[in-house]
């Protein structure tokens, strides 16, 4: 009995920590609709600042003062982020701010490394709360009890803030209907600044109070932001109470889950999220969002076919690329092959994000399963490369068929998070099913067949397949099917009224994207010679997202430009400097500020409006 109580209390303490970081994220999203990847950065900075102060100033002042200062510093960074960066992007397509915050994450990682150095740090225990109490024969740390109280206290304070102050009422109004608050003459920019302050402050606080419980490391940011997103989405975006309930649920399931199935912790939160979203598409306490009208989303201009002259130019460049092996070495060809694979991957993602209007945080699942499709037939059946490259899109397509069926029932960030949940579930299967997949040691020896063993033929293969896939995608977009997919994004209401089953088209689009991502993954497996669970992991999904957004989500060439720029930057900068993440982050931020419609989008728009007035895009 005592044991279960202790386990329950442990779960509560964990839940409190989760809640505090998630509440900030939820508030920021609720008001600004920004998917803030940098929330983990606030958290990490909070932890490091609190550590530094507690390390220098001994005793209670150092510890508690450190926590307070850390929260304020994080809040200040939030304000700076809003003032200097996000504010300039409110008129950009939805998600573009996400790209900006991703740049901030990269900058933050290297900034923290530069300031605090690489070592893990273990902070002091909380003065006055370092001991334990005995409860029913079990030892419970004082600090756990403190956290258990702190969570509800923060919830209560937030409730008071939102219900008893004018500012709070405005925040709630903005959460429910952003248009209306704007119409009421509320100073939106001030509201957003203060909301960022509060959200970042909560993140910093959450990081700082972990000081007595865990080591402060350079990896805290990414680990926590994913978990916080899960909590926010399970709770219902924008609902602080929902976040609290979700944190309780996940905290308790973790605490008791490890008793039954110790290995389940790796996906438990994602399983919970998938189940909750399957039953409640807007989370536990989330509301169906009011249909956005006249949002900042730029309307994509109608499709126009390419002119003959430009087709000729493209053909000529294709020929040049085909001739690349004549004058390039193996490494250049390997890099070019890889870039083509990334182009294919990004294009498959753009197909569902642009025409389909479905945001995905989990597209790596299909890329990775493609790689495994190839790897598994090689490992278990000694299959040839051609078989492998058939198995790759097949396995990925099957997964997309199953996962997509659930995903297309949701929309917006919920859809994105469900794709993430499925990606993590797929990842954990590859990771844990060692007998079949080799676990985290992966599958080795997936090298190209003898006819493509050297760099040049393999490059030509990648070039041929990528171009074929891009042309196919283009063909699909210009065909009635692609029109139907775009119609579903444009107006589900109109689609229903003209007999279009939106979900079915979204589902099929999802499968097509999965198949092509799988092909990319299969090629990638042969390019690298090995397959690992990391191919399905979050960073790959994020890379895909960044490539698509960077290029411009509404442009068919966006993913090409985005993949080339992002992949090129990463692979080249990594050779030049230890602080390549900082440089990549800064470049992304600058690109976002310079081209708030995406590089290709901006380029296309500028050229279009320069040429003629007839095709101007709508607002």
């Amino acid at each position: 009995m005592g044991f279960y109580v202790a386990q329950f209390l442990g779960g509560l303490a964990q839940a409190s920590s989760l809640f505090i970081v998630a509440s900030g994220l939820s508030i920021i999203f609720g008001v600004t609709r920004i998917v803030n990847f940098a929330h983990g950065t606030f958290y990490m900075v909070g932890a490091f600042v609190a550590y530094s102060i507690a390390d220098r100033v001994a005793g209670a002042w150092g510890f508690w003062g450190g926590i307070a200062t850390a929260a304020l510093v994080a809040g200040g960074i939030g304000v700076a982020l809003e003032r200097l960066l996000l504010r300039r992007l409110y008129q950009s397509p939805a998600l573009f701010q996400l790209l900006a915050t991703f740049g901030v994450v990269l900058v933050g990682q290297d900034a923290v490394l530069a300031i605090w150095g690489p070592e893990d740090r273990l902070g002091p225990r909380a003065p006055g709360l370092a001991g334990r109490v005995h409860l029913l024969g079990q030892a419970i740390p004082h600090y756990d009890l403190f956290l258990i109280v702190l969570g509800p206290v923060v919830l209560g304070l937030l409730w008071l803030l939102f219900h008893r102050t004018r500012w709070g009422v405005l925040v709630r109004a903005a959460t429910e209907d952003r248009e209306m608050t704007a119409a009421l003459g509320v100073d939106e920019s001030r509201l957003f600044t203060t909301v960022l302050f509060l959200g970042a402050l909560l993140a910093g606080l959450a990081g700082a109070i972990q000081l007595p419980r865990e080591a402060v490391t350079l990896h805290m940011d990414v680990a926590v932001v994913v978990e916080a997103f899960v909590v926010v989405v399970v709770g219902g975006m924008g609902s602080v109470t929902g976040a609290f309930l979700a944190a309780l649920l996940i905290g308790q399931l973790q605490a008791f889950g490890i008793l039954l199935v110790p290995r389940i912790t790796v996906v438990l939160a994602f399983l919970v999220m998938a189940i909750v979203l399957a039953i409640r598409p807007y989370g536990l306490l989330g509301r169906v969002p009011a249909l956005p009208r006249g949002t900042a989303d730029a309307v994509e201009p109608p499709l126009r076919p390419a002119s003959p002259g430009l087709i000729a130019v493209a053909l000529a460049l294709t020929l040049v690329l085909a001739a690349l092996p004549v004058f390039a070495g193996d490494y250049v060809l390997a890099l070019a092959s890889e870039t083509l694979i990334m182009v294919l991957f990004a294009a498959s993602l753009q197909f569902i994000m642009g025409p389909g209007g479905m945001m995905s945080f989990g597209h790596a699942a299909y890329f990775g399963l493609g790689a495994y499709g190839a790897g598994l037939v090689v490992k278990h059946f000694g299959a040839t490369m051609v078989t492998g490259l058939v198995a790759a899109p097949l396995l990925a397509g099957l997964a997309a068929l199953v996962f997509g069926w659930f995903c297309v029932r949701l929309s917006g960030v919920y859809l994105a998070m469900l794709t993430l949940a499925f990606a993590q579930i797929a990842w954990s299967v590859m990771f844990e099913w060692t007998a079949v997949t080799g676990g985290d040691n992966g599958i080795l020896g997936v090298w190209p067949a003898s006819w493509a063993a050297t760099a040049a033929p393999f490059y030509e293969l990648c070039l041929g397949l990528s171009i074929a896939a891009l042309l196919l995608l283009r063909r699909i977009v210009f065909a009635p099917f692609g029109y139907a997919v775009r119609a579903g994004r444009d107006s589900p209401l109109r689609c229903e009224a003209i007999g279009i089953d939106v979900q079915r088209f979204q589902w099929l689009a999802f499968v097509i994207a999965g198949v092509l991502a799988g092909l990319a993954g299969g090629l990638f497996a042969y390019a690298k010679g090995s397959v690992f669970p990391t191919y399905l992991d979050v960073p790959v999904s994020v890379d895909g997202l960044v490539m698509v957004l960077l290029g411009g989500v509404q442009s068919l060439v966006g993913p090409i430009v985005g993949a080339v720029v992002f992949h090129g930057l990463e692979t080249q900068l990594v050779r030049l400097t230890d602080y390549w993440r900082l440089v990549v982050g800064v470049i992304i931020i600058l690109l976002v500020l310079a081209f708030p419609q995406g590089i290709a989008g901006a380029l296309g728009g500028r050229l279009r409006s320069g040429r003629s007035g007839t095709g101007e895009a709508g607002r």
Partner: protein, 409 residues
């Protein structure tokens, strides 16, 4: 969409240019005084706490080698180092670049096991020597070993075996294990169980916990272990997880009256952050850099402190010895030909700060050992006491037995 084709074209053009930047200058034919290039790949941005001391180590080795006249009768060694960002695919890309652009004659490095395996397979495929310095997975030299891959550090099995020797002496019969849920944790626990059962048929394993690497939920894990009422615990967690586990465990009294046997815990990389909270009495493997009195180590220690103004970590020794081994292999082979280098590596003996080590000809595993001892706290810092150096050769399975586990070349 009218403009799409141009932008496609422009985009691919950029790709081409980006790619060509990587070309660099064409290599000229080898000259007598031309540097011998070695490629080096590690997770510098992903794991700076371990890899930066490691880089110091190999930089010092390269300096010493070149000051002593280089290799092959006067050619200096030049190391081209790349970050893999903690991703196997990036490591393979870097390897391609090093091989093709930089014309390196050998590859070295890597930290994570799966990255080590990816580069090892690349080395086999491209027929180039690879010295895996850090990865611990048994598979690297055994089940997935290959002709061109050698490994410096004692693998998981060997270190577990060293700890089992001490564990078997304990009265404890009921054991619990806690390990990160990936191959390293799994194989450490499996080896430990198997070896301990062989020595002590009376022991039983009553609980196991598999926290996610880097995301341990320490309170519930500690409670769950305590609930099984074990006499002793075998711990494989390290880094930030270890810190959390130690703190929660000591607050909750998990370690009171219990023995703990723990892998890697006394390596300075992981021990130093614990400071005064280093759990006293734990039986651990590690690196007591401040207490090793051998001349070989003293020389290394003095040089390192002089050069970098700080104490070496275990990574420093690993980086240092890896490149000493490569230089020795090149000299022994008298050539930079991959097959000759691989042949030279088999049975190569090298002087390391821990004494002479040999790369076994059968399984390509070096006999570098580890220090086993108990943890104590002195002047607010964790230290190893009652330690000894266990030579890897004494704990590895016999070379021919190990070699039989390897795939046929």
């Amino acid at each position: 969409m009218r403009w799409s084709r141009t932008v496609v074209a422009a985009g691919l053009g950029v790709a081409l240019r980006v790619a060509l930047v990587g070309l660099g200058t064409a290599p000229s034919p080898a000259m007598a005084d031309e540097a011998v290039k070695i490629g080096e790949i590690n997770s510098y941005t992903g794991l700076p706490a371990f890899t930066l001391p490691y880089r110091n180590g190999w930089q010092m080795a390269v300096e010493e080698i070149n000051e002593a006249g280089g290799v092959l009768g006067g050619r200096p060694i030049e190391v081209v180092s790349r970050d893999d960002d903690g991703k196997p695919e990036d490591a393979v890309r870097a390897a391609t670049e090093l091989l093709d652009n930089e014309k390196v004659v050998a590859l070295a490095g890597t930290y994570f096991s799966h990255i080590g395996l990816a580069v090892a397979d690349f080395a086999l495929h491209h027929k180039i020597l690879f010295i895996a310095s850090e990865p611990l997975t048994d598979a690297l030299t055994w089940d997935k070993g290959n002709r061109y891959t050698f490994r410096l550090r004692p693998n998981t099995y060997t270190q577990a075996a060293m700890l089992v020797e001490e564990a078997a002496k304990l009265p404890a019969r009921r054991w619990a294990t806690v390990a990160p849920n990936y191959e390293y944790g799994e194989s450490a626990v499996a080896s430990f169980k198997q070896l301990l059962k062989a020595k002590r048929p009376d022991v039983e394993f009553v609980a196991e916990q598999w926290p996610v690497q880097g995301r341990i939920d320490a309170g519930p894990v500690v409670q769950a272990l305590a609930a099984a009422k074990p006499d002793a615990i075998f711990n494989v967690t390290f880094g930030a997880d270890l810190a959390k586990f130690v703190r929660e465990g000591s607050i909750r009294g998990l370690f009171d009256d219990r023995s703990v046997v723990s892998l890697l815990t006394a390596e300075p990389e992981y021990l130093d952050p614990l400071k005064a909270e280093a759990p006293e009495g734990w039986i651990v493997t590690g690196y007591p850099w401040d207490q090793i009195q051998t001349p070989a180590h003293q020389t290394f220690l003095d040089a390192y402190r002089k050069k970098f103004g700080e104490a070496p970590r275990l990574g420093s020794v690993v980086g240092y010895t890896t490149f000493k081994a490569i230089a020795a292999a090149i000299n022994k082979a008298g050539s930079t030909d991959s097959d000759k280098l691989a042949e030279a590596m088999r049975g190569l003996s090298v002087a390391s700060p821990f004494g002479d080590i040999t790369f076994r000809p059968g399984d390509h595993q070096s006999t570098m050992g580890a220090f086993v001892g108990r943890l104590a706290v002195k002047d607010g810092h964790g230290v190893m006491v009652d330690w000894r150096y266990d030579d890897g050769a004494a704990y590895l399975p016999p070379d021919d037995v190990a070699a039989a586990r390897r795939p046929k070349d």
